[in-house]
């Protein structure tokens, strides 16, 4: 088995260049898909028979919620790789993920609250899924707080990696809270085995939004990763050549 591709991923100059090349591709693909998904979801899809037009917030809410969990998992896996194989780039990626994940969590909570007011009659209920998502936000903040609290970058990397790994326990709790407890939050209508409970005109823009948001995260993460590498490698000689 040839592992050079994996070892090359650990090299900051290689990643810096690769991220620079990939960012516009991800960014443009995300822009096109999100534009299509928004038109398809907000203009073309028929109104829900019960929720009328209010259901359309799902096109932002569900992808944000999915990303809030996906980014945390990415961050924790990346931090674990950094901790185990001592890859600097891995730690940089974990650090780059945290603020993005925190903002998608805020977006998921915010859009959920806006939808909750007309549908449930209240912005907030102390429901297992909502609470677990809020705890996820606190975990992101704790992670960033710990990073900011430790001066030395390498120690901050390793300490925050331990925290990210410990916090992973919350991810399945958020994901399955709707099934484990009798939650007010509706259960999944798309991401499940068998036939989805949603008509195609509504489903396709939603799936497109999922892909678009994920690509948007890739683009944002790569930009942040490059910034993170610049900050960490500011004394390195390759950087002077790369920027010259």
């Amino acid at each position: 088995m040839n592992w050079t591709w994996f070892h090359r991923l650990g090299s900051p100059p290689y990643i810096y260049k690769l991220a620079g090349t990939l960012t516009p591709w991800f960014a443009w693909a995300a822009a096109l898909l999100i534009a299509y998904g928004l038109v398809g979801g907000i203009v073309l899809a028929p109104p829900d028979y019960q929720q009328k037009d209010a259901f359309r917030i799902i096109y932002v809410h569900a992808p944000s919620a999915w990303l809030s969990l996906m980014i945390y998992t990415t961050m924790a896996v990346s931090a674990a790789i950094g901790l185990i194989w001592r890859m600097k780039v891995s730690h940089a990626l974990a650090a780059a993920c945290a603020p993005i994940g925190a903002w998608f969590t805020v977006a998921a909570l915010g859009t959920g609250m806006l939808w909750g007011k007309p549908m449930w009659g209240t912005y907030w209920v102390w429901d297992p899924r909502l609470t677990a998502e809020l705890v996820l936000l606190f975990l992101y903040m704790g992670y960033m707080g710990l990073r900011a609290g430790i001066e030395d970058t390498q120690r901050a990397d390793r300490a925050s990696a331990v925290l990210a790994i410990v916090g992973v326990i919350n991810v399945p709790i958020v994901k399955y809270s709707v099934e484990w407890w009798n939650s007010l939050h509706q259960s999944a209508s798309v991401m499940k085995l068998g036939k989805p409970d949603i008509v195609l005109e509504m489903l396709i823009p939603l799936l497109v939004m999922f892909v678009g948001f994920t690509l948007l995260f890739f683009a944002l993460a790569l930009v942040r990763l490059r910034a993170e590498i610049l900050r960490r490698e500011r004394a390195a000689s390759w950087l002077r050549e790369a920027l010259a």
Partner: protein, 230 residues
């Protein structure tokens, strides 16, 4: 030290716990701080809320648990701090004994000194909040098990904030999200006990969390302390 390898782990743990208890009892003022804090916080609620016992009884589980959580956070700062400052933790790491096991022993003695006393004095606060005497075994049991789980989880946060200047607020930010399940099931068990209903189910779940913490938290705490010592 006589030959690091021949010492049994139980002996090492006993020595660590004995040392921690001896040190703590030489500074009794620090020892009673979390207990006093717990009693004072639970006293504030009748003043702020209403002196009516029937209303207080309804909020008693929440009051007891939030007070216990805050008080255990307050005590967490002392879990590793002194030993990190005087170099004891470094000696632990270099001793050839398992750091995980030594830190578990430290966490256990920390619970004996700060968590268990809360469960012991809880009936005083609970009684003042209008809880019947018959409900006390459930209140004490849930707080005893829950505070053990809180100490274990808190050890991770205490280890992670070792090198952080004025890490107190950060320590709460790291620990509280992880403590949420303990709070939920602990308060639930206490609530059912106060209503004289069967409280076994949440108590068992609480114990399950404590066991989960017992198996995983010392490992994470040891990793955190190692990073802090670098």
């Amino acid at each position: 030290m006589t030959g690091g390898q021949s010492v049994s782990p139980w002996h090492v743990a006993r020595l660590t716990v004995e040392r921690d208890l001896r040190l703590a009892f030489r500074r009794p003022a620090q020892l009673v701080q979390p207990i006093l804090f717990f009693l004072i916080v639970t006293t504030l609620f009748p003043l702020a809320l209403s002196p009516e016992l029937s209303r207080l009884r309804d909020v008693a589980p929440g009051v007891l648990w939030v007070a216990a959580l805050l008080s255990s956070l307050l005590a967490l700062e002392f879990l590793f701090r002194d030993d990190a400052q005087d170099g004891t933790l470094e000696q632990f790491a270099l001793s050839g004994q398992s750091l995980t096991w030594l830190l578990f022993a430290k966490t256990f003695s920390h619970w004996l000194l700060t968590g268990l006393p809360l469960a012991v004095v809880a009936p005083i606060s609970a009684g003042a909040l209008g809880v019947d005497f018959g409900s006390m075994p459930g209140v004490v049991a849930s707080l005893a098990i829950g505070s053990f789980a809180l100490s274990l989880i808190g050890a991770i946060g205490a280890g992670l904030t070792l090198g952080v200047q004025r890490g107190g607020v950060l320590l709460s930010l790291l620990t509280l999200p992880l403590a949420v399940p303990i709070l939920i099931f602990g308060a639930r068990a206490t609530e059912l006990a106060i209503k004289s209903e069967p409280y076994g189910a949440p108590l068992y779940l609480l114990a399950a969390f404590a066991v989960l913490g017992l198996t995983l938290a010392p490992l994470a705490a040891a990793a955190a302390v190692r990073i802090g010592l670098e």
